[in-house]
Symmetry: C2
Subunit: 206 residues, 2 copies
């Protein structure tokens, strides 16, 4: 499969959200125009995005909602569940553990780690906070698909190296630091100040 | 100025971070190669990104660190401070109020609102949580540049309409819902499940 841009992957995720809503409402077909309106883009962009993955729509009839949903779920890797470990049980980490939107997309948070003795053993949304010193011992045999890094900046690279050593291939990074990882490990960096900067850019260039 | 893609704006933010670190370290010039390595991209991409805004680099000498920093701060609208209001004092809202990375980029959270009587009046990082019923009365005369929406999905559109009515032109949306806004209002949607889906896509298509 051709490598596609991250911005395309993000739009596919948005299309899938609308398609799933249409499925629930029993809508059988949808036009590229309708998807474009919901996704804040153009129908030409929708057709281009979907053409990466073969041809779906029928001229004049639009896309089959269940067929396109299934295909997008497959493309996005959502036809299987993922085991997720959260490292760092601070404000962000615990908010994520309690976020209901993950499990219903198949992302199951099964472990949460911290280094603070006052937090270790405390329950957080039915999960006991574990001691990060035990992380390798506990996770070496487990199949961790994705790690969410919600530690302060100073410990982030060290934890990353330890996660890579036990075979984790995907990291969602909330720590305000760029991570060094081998080429076969994917990192997605969530940077709140950067989100605000896309808005200050928009305000500046109105 | 030409409209540039959001992915370009994001890279400019990343370049600026590295440039500011170089400034602190007293480094006077930087090559596009060095910026590319830090930003996880190619030197050709760096040169293309910066060429949008005129020509900076000198062949063989690289970019002047203070000059390029100043220009990027100007392009990104960071030469002025922004007044920010947070709506919703739940886990995400209070984590954001306490996040130190905003104020040092010029994003000053000055107000935090909630509808829960148990939260109203409580202090959160030196800010008193205010009653959202009073929002228009209190903010109509204030200059709110950016609102951060951290409410549940159900109330998000209603709050958005009220923010738009008092003249807010930029919204960072954490609520899991697409917002309808007039064309002159910018919305940046932070969607945690979507961040994970860019990783499941990467795992699926390795």
């Amino acid at each position: 499969m051709r490598k596609i841009a991250e911005s395309t992957v993000r739009r596919l995720s948005l299309y899938l959200r609308f398609l799933e809503k249409f499925e629930q409402e029993g809508i059988a077909t949808v036009s590229s125009q309708a998807l474009a309106e919901r996704g804040g883009t153009t129908s030409a962009q929708v057709r281009k995005d979907l053409s990466f993955f073969g041809s779906f729509g029928k001229r004049g009839l639009g896309y089959s909602v269940p067929e396109l949903s299934r295909t997008l779920r497959d493309i996005l890797g959502l036809e299987r569940p993922y085991n997720v470990a959260v490292i760092g049980a601070g404000k962000i980490g615990t908010a994520l553990v309690q976020y209901p939107g993950f499990a219903n997309r198949g992302f199951h948070i099964r472990w949460v780690y911290d280094r603070d003795p006052r937090k270790i053993g405390v329950s957080c949304n039915h999960l006991k906070i574990r001691d990060v010193a035990q992380m390798e011992a506990e996770l070496a045999e487990a199949k961790v698909d994705i790690a969410i890094l919600a530690t302060p900046a100073d410990g982030a690279q060290g934890i990353t190296d330890r996660l890579v050593a036990i075979g984790v291939k995907a990291i969602l990074n909330f720590a305000p630091v760029q991570l060094d990882v081998p080429a076969d490990v994917s990192v997605q960096h969530v940077n709140m100040a950067l989100e605000l900067e896309t808005l200050s850019y928009a305000l500046r260039n109105r």
